[in-house]
C-alpha cells in the first residue's frame, strides 16, 4: 500500500508540474482527473469493501496430539464483487505451552468467496486460541483501507493421547464411603428401596414395587465405601514431560472411568498456587477437567503438589496417585 501511495504522489506531482509548466487545457484536465481519481477508486470499491465478511473456522474443535488440524479463514462478499486486498493478523496462542504465533498476511486478488487454510502444529497438548484481527480491506487502487468486522475467536483443544496404565490396583473397602458413580447405575441385587424423592432419575424407580405399593419407589444403590482416587500431577516442566504427564493422566482417568470409579484430578495452579480440583464422574466431566488443565499455563518450573498435604475428600481419606511424566532409568513409570 505504501508503494501505491508513493506512486500516486509521484503521479500527482507530475500532473501538478504539467499544470504549472503547460498553459494548455489538457494538462489542466489531467491534473484534476488525477486529483479526483482516488475518490473514484474508493467509491467503486466501497460496495465490495463494505459487503465483505470474514469467518474463521477449524477442522475439528478437539483433536488428539500429533493429529492434523487446519484453520480456515473464509471471505464472503454478498455483492459478489472482488476485493483487491484483505490484510489481517493471525494470532495463535496455546494457553498451555504459552506459545504465541503471530503473522501478518494478506489475501491478494481475492475472489468474492475465498478460503485460506493453514495447518497447525499439534506436537504438544494445549488449548489453542486463534484470533484474526487488524482485518483491513483495500480499495481497488490500493490507497485506502477500511476495517472489517473481526470474526469470533476459534478454540481448538489438543488433547493428550491416553497412555493406559498397566494394572490398576486400588485398595478396596476402607470403610470410607464415597458417592457412587453417576450416570450408569450399578444395580444387581445390591440395593435398597426408598420412597421417590423429587429429582430422582426415572431409571432408579423400581416399577414392580411401585405397582405393588401404588407409590413411587426408588432403588438406592449402595454407597461406595472405596477410597476416592485422586490423581495428582505437576502442572509444569518441559513440554515433552507435560505431554507425557497428560497422556498418563488421561490413561489413568480412562481406566478409572472404565472401572466406574469416581475420581478427582488435582493440580496446583502455576501462578496462584491454588489447588485446582476437578471431579470426574463421567466422560463429560473428564472433558471439562481436561479443558481446565489445558487452559492453565505450564511453566518450566513450579511448586509440586506433592510438597503439600493432600486434602481429604468429602467422604474421608483419599487414595492419591501422583502422575509424572519423567522417565526412570529402567524404563518404568
Amino acid at each position: 500500500m505504501l508503494r501505491r501511495r508513493l506512486l500516486y504522489v509521484l503521479a500527482l506531482f507530475l500532473a501538478y508540474l504539467g499544470q504549472v509548466l503547460d498553459v494548455g487545457y489538457l494538462f489542466h484536465f489531467i491534473f484534476f482527473a488525477v486529483l479526483c481519481f482516488p475518490v473514484l477508486g474508493l467509491l467503486v470499491s466501497l460496495p465490495a469493501m463494505l459487503g465483505s465478511r470474514a469467518v474463521l473456522g477449524v477442522s475439528a474443535p478437539c483433536i488428539q496430539r500429533r493429529s492434523a488440524a487446519t484453520w480456515t479463514l473464509s471471505l464472503h462478499n454478498r455483492f459478489h464483487l472482488p476485493v483487491a486486498r484483505v490484510s489481517y493478523r493471525l494470532r495463535v496462542v496455546n494457553r498451555l505451552t504459552g506459545e504465541i504465533h503471530s503473522a501478518r498476511t494478506s489475501l491478494r486478488r481475492a475472489r468474492p468467496e475465498e478460503d485460506r487454510s493453514w495447518t497447525l502444529e499439534t506436537d504438544h497438548c494445549g488449548l489453542v486460541e486463534c484470533t484474526v484481527d487488524r482485518l483491513w480491506a483495500c480499495d481497488c487502487l490500493g490507497l485506502f483501507a477500511l476495517p472489517l468486522r473481526k470474526p469470533p475467536v476459534m478454540i481448538l483443544m489438543i488433547v493428550p493421547q491416553p497412555e493406559l496404565p498397566g494394572l490398576v490396583e486400588l485398595p478396596e473397602g476402607t470403610g470410607i464411603s464415597a458417592p457412587a458413580a453417576k450416570g450408569r447405575a450399578v444395580f444387581g441385587e445390591n440395593y435398597e428401596l426408598r420412597p421417590y424423592r423429587e429429582g430422582d432419575s426415572l431409571r432408579m424407580i423400581h416399577w414392580k414395587m411401585t405397582a405393588k405399593r401404588d407409590e413411587l419407589v426408588t432403588r438406592e444403590p449402595p454407597e461406595d465405601t472405596r477410597p476416592l482416587p485422586v490423581l495428582t500431577f505437576d502442572h509444569f516442566g518441559l513440554l515433552a514431560e507435560v505431554d507425557r504427564t497428560l497422556d498418563r493422566l488421561a490413561g489413568w482417568s480412562m481406566a478409572l472411568l472404565e472401572q466406574e470409579r469416581v475420581h478427582e484430578v488435582r493440580w496446583l495452579h502455576p501462578e496462584t498456587g491454588a489447588v485446582r480440583i476437578c471431579r470426574v464422574t463421567a466422560e463429560r466431566d473428564w472433558e471439562a477437567c481436561l479443558a481446565a488443565v489445558l487452559s492453565d499455563p505450564a511453566p518450566m518450573r513450579g511448586k509440586s503438589i506433592l510438597e503439600q498435604a493432600i486434602a481429604q475428600g468429602p467422604g474421608g481419606p483419599v487414595y492419591q496417585i501422583h502422575i509424572s511424566g519423567k522417565e526412570v532409568p529402567n524404563g518404568e513409570t
Partner: protein
C-alpha cells in the same frame, strides 16, 4: 455442479463483453486522436468501424487458450502491409513527417511535396487501425497492464501534445475511460471472471461519471491557466535559476555544452523550460532559430551567454551592419506569430532580384557552428543560390526533399546576394515573373493585411490624435521633475511626437500622406511604403523606449496591448507593433527573425547569440518583400542591406540604450590589407582557440560527487552495525531471537521456511536453557542462507537493489 458451470460461463461471457468494450474505447480513442492530432484527413467512419470490429475480434482471439488465432491475425496484417508496400510506404512516410512537429533537435528543413489524398490514406489508415486493434486487444485480454495501453497511446500522441495541438477531445476522453477502467481493475484477480466483469462495468460507469463531471466543471472554452499555476511556475523558474546561478557559471556551462556538442543552453535568469508551443520561456522570441510559431508570451528579459552562432564573410570588402534573414511569420494571434500555411510553389524572395536586373553578385560564406537547422541569408537573395517558400525557409540547390540535408555540428554554405539599393537598379518585372508576382499578390498577400478588429482598434487608437495628445501631455508633465540626461531624452521624445502630431490627425489621415494608388509606378510605391514605415518607426520610438529587461506578458493578454502599456520593449515588441501598424495602414507586412552582424572592412563578422533580432518586411506591389527596421537604434548599415527610411539624425538613433552594447570581437581589422581570396575562410575566421575550462569549478564538482558517494557508502556500511551487534549479543538466546526475526522478514520476501532456524528460535524463546555458541552460529548461518534464498526469489530489477535491504535481513 451444473449450476456452477452455468454461473462460470456467464461470468466469462460478461468478462469478455467488458474486455471488448474497453478495447474498443482504447482503439477508437487512440485512432481518432491520432487522426485529429496530426490532421490526417480520411474517412473517420470507416476507421472507427475498423477499430470497433478489429478490437472485438482481437479480444476474442487473444482470449483463446491457444495463441494461434491471434498469431494468424497478426501474420495476416503483416502480409497485407507487405502486399501493399509500394503504395503504403509513401503514405507511412508522409504520416511520419506529419508526426515530426518537434522544432528541435534536430529540426528538418526539407518539406514534403507528397501529400496523399483521402483515397490513398484510407487503406493505410485501416491497416494501421487493424494493427492498433490487435495490440490493444492483447493488452486488454492477455497482458492486462493498463500502463502499456497508456504508454502506447501517449507515444503516438506525444509529438502533437508537445506542439500544443489538442487532439479531438472526445477521442481523448474515450482513451482516458479505457485507461481508467483498466487501472481500477488492475488489482483484482482473474479467478472469478463474473466478479471481475462486474467490477469492470462498475469501473467503466465510474469513469464515465468522473469524466462527465470534470468536463462540466472544467469547461474548455475560454480556458486560461489559473493564476496559482502561473505563480507557481514563476517561482519554480526563479528558484531553479537562482540555484543554477549559485552553483554554476552559466557561461562556462554553456561553453561545456558547446564543446560536448550538446544543443542546449542555459540563459541566466531563465531556464530552458518549454511551453506548449515548444519555445523557450524567457529566451526571447528572436532566438534566431526558425520556428513555425513565435511564442510572444516567452518574450521576457533578455539574457545571453555570448555563444557564437555563425561566422560570416563577404566576397567583397564591405563594412557595416547586415541582416541575416531566417524566416518570416505572418499570422498574429495576440500572443504569438504563426507561419502562413500556403504553398504556392513560387519564390517571392526572388522578386527584388528580378527587378534589379542581375547586377554584380556578392557572395557570402556562412559557417554555422551552432547548427539549428536554419539557413540564413542576407538581403536580397540572388538567383541560383536556393529558393524559399512562403515562410522564408531557404532550401539550398541540389538538396533532395527526402534527404536530411542538415549536418549536425557545423555546416558551411554560400549564398549570393544583392546589397545595393534596389531603387538605383530597379527594372520592372516582365513576362512570367510579372505573372507570378501578380498571382502571388492576389493569393498570398491578403493574409499579410489581416488584422482582427480588436488589434485594429488598438492600433487606430494608438495613432489617433487624442492618443498622441495624451502622450504629449504626459511627457510635458514629466519634464518638471526631470533633470540632466533624462530631461534631454524626454525633450527629444516630445519634439518627435509633436512633429508626428502635426503631420497626422487620424490613422486615415496618417495613411493619406502615403496613400497608395493603382497608377503609381513601382519606385513611387517603393518610396511611399518605406516612408510610411519610417514614420511608423518614428512613432514607435517616441512612444516606447528600448529596454532589453522588459518583463514577459501575463498569460491571456494581448502582446500589442502589453507593449503599449509597458511603454518599453525590444526588437520583438517593436517589430510586432510595427508590422501591425503597417497593416492598419493598408501595407502588407510580416514579422521576420534572424541576426544582425557588423562586418569589418574585409567583410568578415562573427554572429553571437546576442545578435538575434526581429524586424519587419513590407510588400511592395510589383517589387516584392523589403525589410524595414522598427527598433530604435538599429540604423541601417552601408553594406549588406540599406534600410530605407532609417533616420540619420541622432534623435532617431534611439531613446535609450543601444541594442548591442558590446561589439563582438572581430578578426584583425586593417584597411591596407587586401582580402586573400585563396585563403580558406575557416582559417581567418576561426583562429585556434585554446580555451581551457576553469579547473577550480570542475574540481569542486568532482569533489562534491566523490564526497556524496563516500557518504552514501559510509552510511550503507554503518547500517550493518545493528546486525553485527545482534549477532554478537552477549545473550546468546537474544542473538538467536534476533536472527529468527530477520529470518521471518526473509520468509515474507519469499524465502523457504527453515526448520532448523524455526526450532532454534522456539528454543531460544521458550526454552529454559541457554543456547550454545554453536547454535548461535548455526542460526546466523541459516539466516544468511535464507536471505540469499529470498534474493533469488525477487524479480531481476529487485535483485539488483537487494543488497540495499541486506542490513535488515
Amino acid at each position: 455442479m451444473g449450476k456452477l458451470d452455468d454461473v462460470h460461463v456467464e461470468g466469462k461471457l460478461l468478462l469478455l463483453a467488458g474486455d471488448i468494450l474497453i478495447a474498443i474505447l482504447l482503439t477508437v480513442g487512440c485512432a481518432l486522436a491520432f487522426l485529429s492530432g496530426y490532421a490526417v484527413a480520411t474517412d473517420t467512419g470507416a476507421v472507427v468501424a475498423c477499430c470497433v470490429f478489429g478490437a472485438a475480434v482481437s479480444v476474442l482471439l487473444h482470449k483463446q487458450a491457444h495463441p494461434w488465432g491471434a498469431l494468424l491475425a497478426a501474420a495476416g496484417i503483416v502480409w497485407l502491409f507487405w502486399l501493399t508496400w509500394e503504395k503504403t510506404a509513401p503514405v507511412l512516410e508522409w504520416v511520419g513527417l506529419q508526426m515530426e512537429l518537434l522544432p528541435r533537435p534536430p529540426a528538418r528543413t526539407f518539406t514534403a511535396t507528397f501529400s496523399p489524398g483521402k483515397e490513398q490514406l484510407l487503406p493505410v489508415m485501416l491497416l494501421l487501425s487493424a494493427a492498433l486493434a490487435w495490440i490493444m486487444g492483447w493488452i486488454v485480454a492477455r497482458a492486462r497492464r493498463w500502463y502499456l495501453a497508456a504508454l502506447l497511446s501517449t507515444a503516438l500522441l506525444l509529438p502533437a501534445i508537445l506542439m500544443g495541438v489538442l487532439p479531438a477531445w472526445g477521442a481523448v476522453l474515450a482513451a482516458f475511460a479505457g485507461w481508467g477502467a483498466m487501472l481500477l481493475t488492475a488489482l483484482f484477480g482473474r479467478k472469478d471472471p463474473g466478479s471481475l466483469a462486474r467490477a469492470q462495468f462498475l469501473s467503466l460507469a465510474g469513469m464515465a461519471m468522473l469524466l462527465l463531471l470534470l468536463v462540466m466543471a472544467l469547461p474548455m472554452e475560454g480556458y486560461t491557466r489559473p493564476q496559482w499555476a502561473t505563480n507557481a511556475r514563476d517561482n519554480l523558474v526563479r528558484g531553479v535559476t537562482e540555484q543554477v546561478d549559485r552553483f554554476f557559471d552559466i557561461d562556462q556551462l554553456n561553453e561545456t555544452f558547446l564543446e560536448l556538442g550538446i544543443d542546449f543552453t542555459l540563459s541566466g535568469g531563465n531556464l530552458g523550460i518549454t511551453d506548449a508551443a515548444g519555445d523557450l520561456a524567457g529566451d526571447g522570441a528572436a532566438s534566431g532559430s526558425l520556428q513555425r510559431r513565435e511564442n510572444l508570451r516567452a518574450a521576457g528579459p533578455r539574457r545571453y551567454a555570448g555563444r557564437k552562432i555563425m561566422t560570416v564573410g563577404s566576397s567583397q570588402p564591405a563594412a557595416g551592419q547586415i541582416y541575416l534573414r531566417g524566416g518570416a511569420l505572418g499570422v498574429y494571434t495576440g500572443d504569438a506569430w504563426e507561419a502562413v500555411n500556403t504553398d504556392l510553389g513560387i519564390s517571392p524572395s526572388l522578386f527584388p532580384y528580378e527587378t534589379a536586373g542581375r547586377p554584380e553578385e556578392y557572395t557570402m560564406s556562412i559557417r554555422d557552428v551552432s547548427f539549428r537547422g536554419v539557413y540564413f541569408y542576407p538581403y536580397q537573395l540572388a538567383a541560383g543560390y536556393g529558393s524559399t517558400d512562403e515562410s522564408g525557409w531557404l532550401r539550398l540547390p541540389g538538396s533532395s526533399e527526402w534527404e536530411d540535408i542538415l549536418i549536425p555540428g557545423s555546416e558551411e554554405y554560400e549564398v549570393g546576394y544583392m546589397p545595393s539599393d534596389p531603387r538605383e537598379t530597379f527594372a520592372p518585372l516582365g513576362g512570367a515573373a510579372a505573372e507570378q508576382e501578380r498571382a502571388y499578390r492576389q493569393e498570398a498577400i491578403p493574409v499579410y493585411l489581416d488584422l482582427d478588429s480588436y488589434t485594429r482598434n488598438r492600433v487606430e487608437n494608438l495613432l489617433s490624435q487624442e492618443r498622441l495628445l495624451l502622450i504629449i501631455e504626459a511627457i510635458e508633465s514629466s519634464l518638471d521633475g526631470a533633470e540632466g540626461e533624462e530631461r534631454e531624452i524626454l525633450e527629444q521624445n516630445l519634439a518627435q511626437l509633436q512633429a508626428v502630431y502635426e503631420n497626422t490627425l487620424t490613422l486615415k489621415d496618417f495613411g493619406s500622406t502615403v496613400e497608395l494608388t493603382d497608377d503609381m509606378s513601382v519606385p513611387e510605391r517603393f518610396d511611399a511604403v518605406l516612408t510610411a514605415a519610417s514614420r511608423t518607426a518614428e512613432l514607435l520610438s517616441a512612444i516606447a523606449v528600448y529596454d532589453p529587461d522588459t518583463p514577459a506578458m501575463a498569460p491571456g493578454g494581448d502582446f500589442l496591448q502589453h507593449f503599449l502599456s509597458e511603454g518599453r520593449g525590444y526588437c520583438v515588441h517593436f517589430a510586432t507593433a510595427g508590422a501591425l501598424m503597417l497593416r492598419a495602414q493598408g501595407i502588407p507586412a510580416r514579422y521576420v527573425t534572424g541576426y544582425t552582424v557588423y562586418l569589418n572592412e574585409r567583410g568578415r563578422g562573427v554572429v553571437l547569440d546576442s545578435d538575434a533580432h526581429a524586424w519587419v518586411e513590407v510588400y511592395i506591389d510589383g517589387y516584392g518583400w523589403h525589410p524595414v527596421e522598427m527598433t530604435p537604434g538599429y540604423a541601417g548599415g552601408s553594406s549588406g542591406v540599406e534600410l530605407s527610411g532609417a533616420p540619420e539624425t541622432e534623435e532617431a538613433a534611439g531613446n535609450g540604450e543601444t541594442p548591442s552594447e558590446e561589439m563582438p570581437e572581430l578578426p584583425n581589422e586593417s584597411k591596407t590589407e587586401t582580402p586573400e581570396e585563396d585563403a580558406p575562410l575557416s582559417e581567418e575566421i576561426f583562429p585556434e582557440e585554446e580555451e581551457k575550462p576553469a579547473p577550480g569549478k570542475a574540481l569542486r564538482i568532482v569533489g562534491g560527487v566523490v564526497l556524496a558517494a563516500g557518504l552514501l557508502c559510509g552510511a550503507y556500511f554503518l547500517s550493518f552495525l545493528p546486525r553485527r551487534a545482534a549477532r554478537r549479543h552477549k545473550d546468546v538466546n537474544r542473538s538467536v531471537i534476533h536472527a529468527y526475526r530477520r529470518y521471518r522478514r526473509a520468509v515474507d520476501l519469499g524465502s523457504k521456511e527453515d526448520k532448523i532456524l524455526e526450532e532454534l528460535g522456539r528454543k531460544a524463546k521458550f526454552s529454559q536453557h541457554t543456547l550454545t555458541e554453536e547454535e548461535r552460529e548455526t542460526a546466523w548461518t541459516h539466516l544468511d542462507a535464507a536471505a540469499e534464498s529470498a534474493r533469488g526469489c525477487q524479480p531481476k530489477w529487485r535483485r539488483f537493489l537487494f543488497p540495499l535491504a541486506k542490513p535488515l535481513l
